[in-house]
């Protein structure tokens, strides 16, 4: 998909809660051997998807240096809404000062809800309907005790503000591509606390097929190849999948390493790909081309090709980098984690 005029990222912000649970701690409690990541982030008692969204949205506005009143759209992509009915988007819009002349809503598309919001924001900005649009991917992901997901389901998010040239941009969008099928690999029904998944079905026919479909589709439309990209970010539900899909597509470890934060953060679901992009932008230089491909169960992938603009790293470094959030941590054991994630009650 191509835009009318040049649309780009004018600001971004990240947020990762401070608590960490080591994957080995899950093994200590439930048995098992081997771990898909090192550790994952866990919310504190007063945090949820809304607070994470507000934190990263505020950093994004600060980094963009824009008047939040000119943000005409705020969309929060998440599968862990604190309210079943009552938007997160309105709370975030109010908190950053974007209300009342704003469209706001929440998006749900499993782990790609955040990048689905990217697509809408890009369209709104491209059409000229709004000057700036904010897309957030954030989650406090749920994993059933002892399920394979419990090692990785994590908390965090990132916000991106899209604008249009001649406004200053951090990275310009070359094109996007969405690839969606009805593939029921993972789901959570209403009133259920934990999602269910199709085990190995979530791999080849789901994650790999959709990411490869979207990545190849976008590169085909743009006439680009893996060698044209300095960096690549793929949805990271565990450490193995993004490394494998990068290899399958022809990207080396150097390309994905800056955005591969899952070993230390876990899978932040709708926040996963946006956080990977934020971590990559943190260390990128003008001219770097970045391929971003999300994956959401159900299923689909959104692919984006960005080219980093003239903004110097120092200019973007005025707000906390993703690596700072990763380094800022406090370990909790399984009992505290159980309390914080509502697995046990008074």
């Amino acid at each position: 998909m191509k835009t009318s005029g040049t649309v780009g990222i004018v600001g971004y912000g990240a947020y990762i809660p401070m608590n960490r649970l080591k994957a080995e701690e899950v093994n200590r409690v439930w048995g098992g051997s081997g771990t898909p990541i090192e550790e994952k982030s866990v919310i504190s008692i007063d945090e949820d998807t809304v607070t994470i969204s507000v934190e990263c949205a505020r950093y994004a506005v600060k980094r963009a240096g824009i008047d939040p009143g000119e943000i005409g759209a705020v969309y929060v992509g998440t599968e862990s809404k604190p309210y079943a009915v009552k938007p997160c988007g309105t709370i975030v819009a109010e908190a950053i000062g974007a209300t009342p002349r704003v469209t706001a809503a929440d998006y749900e598309f499993a782990c790609k809800a955040g990048t689905e919001a990217f697509q809408t924001c890009i369209g709104l900005v491209s059409s000229g309907m709004v000057r700036y649009a904010m897309a957030i991917g954030a989650d406090t992901a749920q994993g059933r005790p002892a399920d394979a997901l419990e090692y990785t389901t994590a908390c965090g998010g990132a916000a991106f503000i899209f604008g249009k040239k001649p406004d200053r941009t951090i990275a310009d969008l070359e094109g996007s591509y969405s690839y969606v099928t009805d593939t029921p690999d993972f789901w959570r029904r209403g009133l259920e606390m934990y999602p269910r998944h199709g085990n190995r079905f979530t791999g080849e026919p789901a994650y790999f097929s959709h990411i490869i479909g979207a990545a190849k589709g976008l590169m085909g439309e743009l006439g680009t190849e893996p060698k044209d990209y300095r960096y690549a970010v793929f949805h990271q539900p565990n450490t193995k999948f993004p490394i494998n899909v990068a290899k399958m597509l022809g990207f080396g470890m150097d390309a994905i390493k800056p955005g591969l934060i899952v070993p230390y953060v876990g899978n932040t679901y709708a926040g996963s790909t946006p956080l990977g992009l934020a971590a990559t932008l943190d260390i990128s230089a003008p001219g770097d081309r970045i391929l971003v491909v999300s994956y959401g169960s159900g299923a689909g992938s959104d692919a984006f090709s960005f080219v980093v603009q003239e903004a110097a790293p120092g200019e973007r470094g005025s707000d906390p980098s993703v690596s700072k959030f990763i380094a800022r941590k406090c370990y909790v054991d399984y009992s505290v984690y159980s309390k914080l994630r509502g697995k046990i009650h008074r």
Binding site: S33, G198, N199, P205
Partner: protein, 380 residues
């Protein structure tokens, strides 16, 4: 009784076929077998399947599959005997030709397991045991095998590494197999380092989960151009409970079925040039080898470790990878074994070919050795 020949073989690659359902797997194998035989003529269809009723909620596979290949009107039925379904169904198909009631019988095993959640697959596999006495306890099939494994090592002092060599050999043989799920070598170190599936059986000593379809076309045997002759088939049952077994280191059903098959075919184990053994776990493979007379009781693991079951060994065994490496799509497995033996005898085994094989034997087990089917094939 008429002599019976395998006139065509059709095997799908065992694997996780996410885009293929039961009917697709069935049709691919069945049509391959018909193509191989160079005919479209079928008057009876025997389907072998174990899990469709629980994993797909599907019964009545006979008529369904006949329709799937455009053969509505023929006699068709499904046969279930746990993981021995394939061998038992083949036995019945052979009887239809031998009796003179049918002229061209398609026997097809099909199983679609990858769509099932692990707990559903495990629960279905456990249905091969008594729900009122054994399965309700939650014990898995591998868990039951682990009890036999412990008894075996205590009684004979067999080394765990020697028993695990059964899996090493199966993987060695799978290299080059076009239809194997895991066509690569696996080292003994990797097997012994894998997690326990049911102590002392490691995960990599167990067959995995896969989808597959395997078909053979049976016709009256007259001459070499008819294919491979079915020299004997036999089915025997054994104790349905561990507590009822004569001892925990032997499968009576295997002994009975193989003795009957040897007698009917007029052969002894020494005459078998190529062998397919039901290695659902390494210990099941080792005990089966012994009960069929290929190794002395208590010496089966050492027999395997010494290389006697390699393609160039005394008894080439599981020449396409066996259940461990070719894969184990339960209801289809027995037909894979029989199809593979037929390919060996026809000299059509490609990279897996055993030289100058004239007699081959396939053995499959249902439950913890409570059903055993043995098939002996012979080159014309």
């Amino acid at each position: 009784m008429r002599r019976v020949a395998i006139a065509g073989v059709g095997l799908t690659k065992v694997g996780e076929h996410w885009s293929m359902g039961l009917k697709d797997l069935f049709a691919e194998a069945a049509l391959k077998a018909l193509d191989d035989a160079g005919t479209d003529d079928v008057d009876a269809l025997y389907v072998s399947n174990m899990c469709a009723s629980t994993l797909q909620g599907q019964l009545h596979l006979g008529a369904m599959m006949a329709d799937a290949i455009g053969k509505s009107g023929i006699t068709a039925l499904n046969i279930e005997a746990a993981a021995a379904s394939g061998g038992v169904t083949f036995h019945e198909g052979v009887k239809a030709i031998a009796s003179g009631l049918s002229k061209s019988v398609l026997v097809v095993g099909v199983e679609k397991m990858s769509d099932g959640l692990p707990e559903s697959v495990l629960a279905t596999q456990s249905m091969s045991e008594d729900q009122e006495y054994t399965a309700y306890t939650g014990v898995t099939n591998v868990g039951l095998s682990a009890l036999m494994y412990r008894q075996y090592t205590e009684k004979f002092g067999a080394k765990a590494e020697d028993i695990a060599m059964f899996a090493v050999r199966s993987h060695e043989n799978a290299e080059g197999s076009p239809h194997a799920q895991y066509p690569f070598k696996l080292s003994i170190d990797r097997i012994m380092a894998s997690p326990m599936e049911a102590d002392p059986i490691h995960m990599l000593e167990c067959a995995g989960i896969g989808d597959g379809g395997a078909a053979v076309l049976l016709r009256p045997a007259k001459r070499a151009s008819d294919g491979v002759e079915v020299a004997a088939t036999s089915v025997a049952t054994g104790a349905y409970y561990l507590s009822g077994m004569r001892d925990l280191v032997s499968f009576d059903a295997v002994r009975l079925a193989s003795e009957r098959a040897y007698k009917a075919a007029g052969i002894s184990p020494r005459d078998v040039d190529v062998l397919e053994v039901h290695d659902e776990t390494t210990i099941a493979g080792v005990i089966s080898l012994e009960d069929m007379g290929f190794a002395e009781k208590g010496r089966g693991a050492a027999y395997v470790a010494k290389g006697n079951t390699t393609r160039g060994g005394e008894t080439p065994t599981n020449t396409f990878g066996g259940l461990k490496a070719r894969g184990h799509p339960l209801g289809a497995t027995g037909l894979y074994q029989i199809g593979e033996v037929a390919l060996q005898l026809l000299g059509e085994a490609g990279a897996c070919q055993v030289q100058d094989a004239e007699v081959g034997l396939a053995q499959s087990l249902g439950g913890l050795g409570s059903t055993c089917a043995v098939t002996v094939l012979r080159r014309f």
